[in-house]
């Protein structure tokens, strides 16, 4: 059973009908519905192809937020071995919105860090919906420092609507924690690879995504502010999120043109949520390629190039 997005409603109807027919046939052996059901399948696929061929930026935001997309933990479980979670900021708490630890990627020891949104009510609350508090950034800073000292490449998986807008998070210096995490990203002398797997929300994303290579999944987004937030400020109407999503240029495709994303990883037809395994495999392949390329570089060069990349970003605007 699929969780359908609003714009997928026509698709839900067709797929629902096909499923109903097949259920009927199972209950009644004399019925032959396969021909009819197969026709519906073809119709659904054509519609799916059509819907996803030209997703509007706002629709991409919805796909990027789809609850059935693979999350950080899914990638870690599937792509890494010996994952050894490392907890805590050594100061206040362990933030479960941020996962991190030692692991092997294709045999190579690495540090993996990422936002985890959770997959059901209990885990979502536990993970604070992937919205990190200061402790999350400080844990990441600690783990990046550890990786740097032992020469381990860092892989970050970014999926957050943004930093947590809460009293405690502010009191404990959320801004400073984000600033220091970004600073740490720009200090380490090991390969740093970041994949935006869903939402790259504002400072909460930058804190982990300031990397040698930034790859984005085809329907992921990376933005300075949510379309809803932007709409309510600039249009004075949160309902203008479609217009805002359009204007913000937040899609993986636009970000590649702007030089913020280095590559776009294609998703299966109908988005990552329709074929999680294929998506995870594609991300794994991309990590492998980027890692191989970066491991040839010397520590100083990795640092210099990473900094230069951010100094150069935006010089040509969308004309790039």
């Amino acid at each position: 059973m699929n969780n359908y997005l609003e714009f997928e409603k026509p698709l839900a109807e067709i797929e629902g009908k096909a499923e109903e027919l097949r259920a009927l046939a199972r209950a009644n052996e004399e019925m032959d519905v396969e021909k009819e059901a197969a026709a519906l399948d073809r119709k659904a696929e054509a519609l799916l192809r059509d819907l996803y061929a030209n997703l509007s930026p706002w629709r991409k935001c919805q796909v990027a937020r789809h609850p059935d997309r693979p999350h950080c933990k899914d990638y870690i479980d599937a792509l890494f071995t010996e994952f050894t979670s490392l907890a805590g900021d050594r100061n206040f708490a362990d933030d479960l919105a941020v996962m991190g630890g030692l692991a092997r990627f294709d045999g190579t020891p690495v540090m993996v860090i990422g936002h985890e949104k959770g997959h059901n009510t209990r885990t979502r609350i536990e993970r604070n919906f992937g919205m990190a508090r200061p402790e999350g950034y400080r844990k990441a800073i600690r783990l990046m420092g550890l990786a740097d000292r032992f020469g381990l490449p860092i892989i970050s998986l970014v999926d957050t609507v943004g930093a947590y807008p809460g009293k405690g998070a502010e009191e404990r210096g959320q801004s400073e924690a984000i600033a220091r995490s970004t600073e740490k990203c720009l200090q380490v002398k090991v390969p740093l690879i970041s994949i935006i797997i869903g939402e790259g929300g504002s400072g909460g994303a930058v804190a982990f995504a300031t990397a040698n290579r930034v790859a984005m999944l085809e329907h992921s987004v990376y933005t300075v502010i949510s379309p809803e937030g932007c709409a309510s400020i600039l249009w004075k109407d949160a309902e203008k999120m479609r217009e805002a999503a359009e204007a913000l240029r937040l899609t993986a495709q636009d970000l590649e043109r702007l030089g913020v994303a280095d590559m776009v990883i294609p998703e299966p037809l109908g988005g990552a949520q329709r074929d999680r395994e294929a998506t995870i495999r594609a991300v794994g392949a991309a990590i492998g390629r980027m890692l191989k390329e970066l491991q040839k570089k010397k520590p100083e060069q990795l640092l210099r190039e990473r900094r230069q990349k951010y100094l150069d970003i935006g010089a040509a605007g969308l004309a790039a």
């Binding site: 009293k167 970004t182 504002s202 400072g203 702007l258 951010y310 040509a316």
Partner: protein, 302 residues
């Protein structure tokens, strides 16, 4: 009397008196409602004489009050590509920029200058809240970089006054990218062994707070300045948490260990001179009537 009488001869003072505001105008203090003469307010560095409320002060006014003799040289900021995304909300972004330029008389939301404070050569950058909320786009990023580069070239400390509602949404992801970009600027300064002092002024929020404005060697704030990542309204709307009195204000941050000092604007100049000179291991600052700078300034404050 303000500090100027201590440091500046009347001759130099006259250099910058030509653009003084007419004194037949009033400003109402938003905090206590007192009506204040413009001249009186300007002389008091735009601090309410009745309740000490620190009003916004333009970078140019700030520089005039900060640099010895009010003399400073502006540092050119490389122009970024205009309107990189072709952004349009209810207005076109270039139109918003033009309106802000007209209203402020400034090119963009940050001014960079060099000069001396208490005979200590420094580079100073100041963000202009009245220019599109001081928002950080590519120009502000370029300005922070230009300031850092000049400071490194001349081996001078950098003092930065922040004031911003956050990132410039009209530049989308490129405004967000100024967070790492300006962080590189701060790193270059630190690696050059130069002091970087941040003065957070009201308000400093969003991506600015979460990058160069929180990475100072010394973090000072003006009294009652709002300093935060997510603003109180956002917190109340999304989480519905009740916020205590003074939440996210300078004094509250000081109490929570997020700042070194909260300093009244009238004491800021002396304090900056003192701190910079100690970090540079220079002799104590000279008090009293200093002679005008020995070298003729390249360009007086406009």
């Amino acid at each position: 009397m303000n500090w100027i009488s201590n440091y500046v001869r009347p001759k130099i003072n006259s250099l910058f008196s030509r653009r003084e505001t007419p004194d037949n105008l009033w400003t109402k203090c938003p905090e206590c409602g007192t009506m204040l003469f413009h001249r009186e307010l300007a002389e008091n560095l735009r601090v309410c004489t009745s309740c000490d409320h620190h009003m916004q002060i333009s970078p140019r006014e700030r520089f005039k009050a900060l640099f010895d003799g009010g003399i400073f040289t502006e540092i050119d900021v490389p122009e970024p590509v205009q309107d990189p995304l072709g952004f349009r909300d209810q207005k076109k972004y270039p139109d918003r920029l033009k309106a802000a330029q007209k209203a402020t008389g400034e090119k963009e939301a940050m001014l960079v200058a060099e000069g001396e404070i208490g005979r200590t050569p420094v580079v100073v950058a100041a963000q202009d809240f009245s220019f599109m909320g001081g928002s950080m786009g590519m120009y502000v990023g370029n300005a922070v970089l230009a300031a850092a580069r000049r400071a490194i070239d001349r081996k001078r400390p950098l003092i930065l006054f922040s004031a911003a509602g956050g990132a410039r949404m009209q530049e989308g992801i490129l405004s967000l990218m100024q967070m790492p970009r300006t962080t590189v600027a701060v790193q270059m300064l630190k690696e050059a062994g130069l002091p970087y002092i941040v003065v957070l002024t009201h308000p400093t929020t969003g991506g600015v707070t979460a990058s160069y404005a929180m990475l100072g060697d010394i973090q000072i704030a003006e009294p009652n300045a709002l300093i935060c990542f997510a603003g109180p309204r956002v917190i109340q709307q999304t989480i519905g948490e009740k916020l205590p009195e003074g939440f996210q204000r300078a004094e509250y941050l000081l109490d929570h260990g997020m700042l070194d000092r909260v300093t009244h604007r009238k004491n800021l100049r002396d304090e900056l001179i003192s701190i910079t000179r100690m970090l540079l291991r220079e002799t104590p600052p000279i008090k009293g009537d200093l002679a005008a700078p020995a070298q003729a300034p390249a360009e007086a404050g406009k």
